[in-house]
């Protein structure tokens, strides 16, 4: 049961709503489907009709993708996305949560199962008959952009690597995407940090719980994010910063875990939240102090940059864009689309896949029109969606820095 006093605090933000509809213009989902009545409706407006202990049929709330653009656009400070998340949780408590949602909300479970048998698992995930079956049985859309298992875990590399003995200590929070699907990205992040004089510590860590939260499994999400906080906090109590490359996951730790799950008072989570940085955010601040190494070699490439919704949710602008501008030879085109549509696990679902693709259509068109060969994007689930929809490679911005440093 959500801490009721906390829920009341969230509810109070609905008082700021002046019904202006700006959030509706920002919502990528309600603009492409009437199945979601829109953030103003589902959040501050419907909240006045909700009472603790009562619930009614509000299945339309489940069509919110949790992107958070509404909260960001709101000029009055209404916690719209957070209210929606709470409403979804209440709905799910009433209707129950499907096996599919329980499964895809646990990337560590999926990751641990798939990694040892990666070649087979990957083959099956690409095989049409298996996908059709998965769609019928589990409800995962046959065309949904599922990632490929790397067949090795990032942690294995981390444990065996030769870490430098000197440098400013920093803690690396790598996230499940890096762990099971993109360990090479993690290696590059570490290399770039070390190149800039950091001594990177990679403590034991697990999932931040974001997919659990966005699927309404609040109790489980709390366990995961608190466990993660307990893993990271001891390494950061002396003021050490924590850096991550998965912008959805770092946002979960920075803000969503606390604001949506009502964990404002946990001291470990408060600590790691305060000291959590997105890797581009960190490098840009270094640059502001004149401490970023600028020994970049040219990278000749036309690259389009898309800031994922949950990177924008950090509310720090687009530091990746400014970093990429430092790399000679790189022709960076800023894309101005709202959302790729994937919403983490949202766009994988049979009933939401097409909505996600429609929501992302504007972005995909802009990628086409940009003339870029590759798309830079900070969030792995967004990269997989963009690759799926545009047939162009999509990489984390850090890869360009890594390449420019010639590491």
């Amino acid at each position: 049961m959500i801490d009721d006093l906390f829920h009341e605090a969230l509810r109070s933000s609905l008082d700021h709503c002046v019904k202006c509809t700006i959030c509706e213009t920002a919502c990528p989902v309600s603009n492409v489907t009437p199945l979601f009545p829109g953030p103003k409706y589902a959040g501050p407006q419907a909240e006045r009709y909700r009472a603790l202990g009562q619930s009614q049929d509000e299945s339309s709330v489940d069509y919110c993708s949790g992107c958070g653009l509404c909260t960001m656009a709101c000029p009055q400070g209404v916690k719209i996305a957070e209210l929606n998340a709470h409403a979804r949780h209440t709905v799910k408590q009433r209707t129950g949560i499907s096996l599919r949602d329980r499964l895809i909300a646990r990337p560590t479970v999926v990751g641990r199962l798939g990694t040892p048998v990666a070649p087979i698992a990957n083959a099956m995930l690409q095989a049409r008959p298996a996908r059709v079956l998965a769609e019928r049985v589990l409800g995962i859309h046959r065309d949904a952009p599922l990632p490929r298992f790397a067949g090795r875990r990032f942690r294995t590399w981390a444990r065996h690597r030769q870490a430098p003995g000197t440098g400013t200590k920093i803690v690396y929070f790598h996230g499940c995407g890096t762990e099971y699907y993109e360990p090479d990205v993690g290696e590059k992040v570490v290399a770039v940090l070390e190149h800039n004089g950091f001594r990177v510590e990679i403590p034991e860590q697990d999932c931040c719980g974001l997919p659990l939260q966005s699927n309404g499994l609040f109790e489980d999400a709390r366990k995961y994010v608190l466990r993660l906080a307990r893993s990271l906090a001891p390494h950061a109590r002396d003021g050490t910063l924590i850096v991550g490359n998965a912008t959805s996951c770092t946002l979960m730790v920075k803000r969503e875990g606390r604001e949506i799950l009502g964990l404002e008072h946990d001291p470990d989570l408060a600590l790691v939240s305060r000291q959590m940085y997105d890797v581009c955010e960190l490098l840009l601040e270094l640059h502001g102090r004149g401490e970023l190494r600028l020994d970049f070699q040219p990278v000749e490439e036309v690259v389009a940059y898309h800031a994922p919704c949950q990177q924008q949710g950090h509310w720090i602008g687009k530091p990746a864009l400014e970093l990429l501008a430092l790399v000679p030879g790189l022709d960076v085109r800023e894309l101005d689309a709202r959302c790729c549509g994937i919403g983490g696990t949202y766009g994988l679902k049979r009933e939401k896949y097409q909505i996600a693709m429609d929501a992302g259509a504007d972005l995909f068109d802009q990628v086409e029109a940009s003339g870029a060969r590759v798309v830079a994007c900070d969030s792995e689930t967004c990269r997989w969606q963009i690759e799926h929809a545009t047939r162009r490679p999509s990489v984390h911005p850090i890869e360009f820095l890594h390449q420019a440093y010639r590491l």
Binding site: D4, S12, D15, C17, V18, K19, R48, A51, Q56, D57
Partner: protein, 517 residues
Amino acid sequence: MLSADALVIGGGATGAGVAWDAALRGLDVVLVERGDLATGTSGRFHGLLHSGGRYAVKDPAAADECVRENGVVRDVAADCVEDTGGLFVTTPFDDPAYADRFAAGCRTTGVPCEEIEPAQALREEPRLNPGISRAFRVPDASIDVWKLVWALARGAQDRGARVLPYHEVVAVHRSGDQVHGARVRNARTGTEMDVEAAVTISASGAWAGRIAAMAGIDGVHVMPGRGIMIAMNHRLVNTVVNRCQMPTDGDIIVPIHTVSVIGTTDVPTDDPDDHTVRPEEVDAMLEEGERLVPGFKRARALRVWTGVRPLFEDRKENGGATDTREVTRAHALLDHRERDGVAGFLTITGGKLTTYRLMAQDTVDAACRQLGNARPCTTSTERLPGSEDGEQYRIGERLGRRELRLSDDQLICECELITRRRVEDAIRRRGTSDLDDLRRLLRLGMGPCQGGFCIYRAAGILHGLDGIGTPDANAGLLDYVRERWKGVWPVLYGDQLRQARLDEWIFQGVLDIEHLQ
């Protein structure tokens, strides 16, 4: 000219209740009301269906009535009632000794009352003052008075009664010692008409003295007691919360529909149409609210309004107290044949909304005695239209209903979840061309935006349905905006001021209604 067995003057809960009761007993009834139904006291109070706890110590007669009627109204008017439950809590600002007197008073008067742990009360109502030391559960509820009055009116109409809003009594017909009806003027058209009736029942609440005077009867002294109420933007509590102390100003917060209402003050006035809101009253309500719900003063206030209680004092019998709180809240039925030697005329006044049915019963019993009709009252068991299934209203109802219609009906008033179909039906069914009528009927424009978005839409729909011509649509828009402002500005601060600025931009900037011709 109309003729009937009974003419009822006053379309509040009492008058409508009388019409319903009388119609059920086979009487031919005409009801006249000078404005829209429920625009007197009934429509201007906080919506509390009393458990009687408030009167358990101070006014046992009133408590007793509430106990009985609370249960009956929950059944016959179920659709109008939300079973919020009620709490009496002792805050750090209340005399701790009162709690035991309260419990004892409840026992004596039969008000169902259960003491609970303050921690339990706080679990149920997290916004309450964490310093509460005692808590009692009682069966308070909140009631939608417009739904109630319209259900009563419809029920009466279904049985042949004629219900005439916007008909003001301009003269009471009396020949010698017999009152035989009244002359009414249609406020919309200006035409006048006589209504002949064997019995005339004045259910005119705070205006009862004036109506009685029109019949040449003195001494019906109703002391209007004016009080303000403030609606807060959302339900800070979902239970009716009372301060456990002697009744005083601002000691109740009532969750009704999507708002919570704090009330009230008690200022004697001469004029039942006095709607002054004094800044000190507003400040006092906010202070009291803060004591019950810390943070109240930072919460968003939507609007303030006044209601005038009809406090009856029979000047024929005693010298009269001056503090309106001292006057009994029990109702007073005056059979003028017995009291003044004038037949065919009854006055029912005083009382409270919770006991409307009992007031109506006593009144119709007396009327039937004068008419020689022996039919018994059935209103304690006969369910009102809309409440046939006995299912009480739930706050999430509109939201749940809307969920079913997301893809096939537009929302016109988004704050209050009112669909286009509902607006069009209301216009057609009531034949109304008045945005204010729609507001009362549907709660149109009563949400946070106070009509900023929906009033233009509703005016457009009204106009488009050939309901009204352009000048009337313009007047309706302008009147609505002006009237709404009267209830907004005395509590305009914080978030509601942000809203008011946006509404100004819409009405004066985008639409420029001030310069309509």
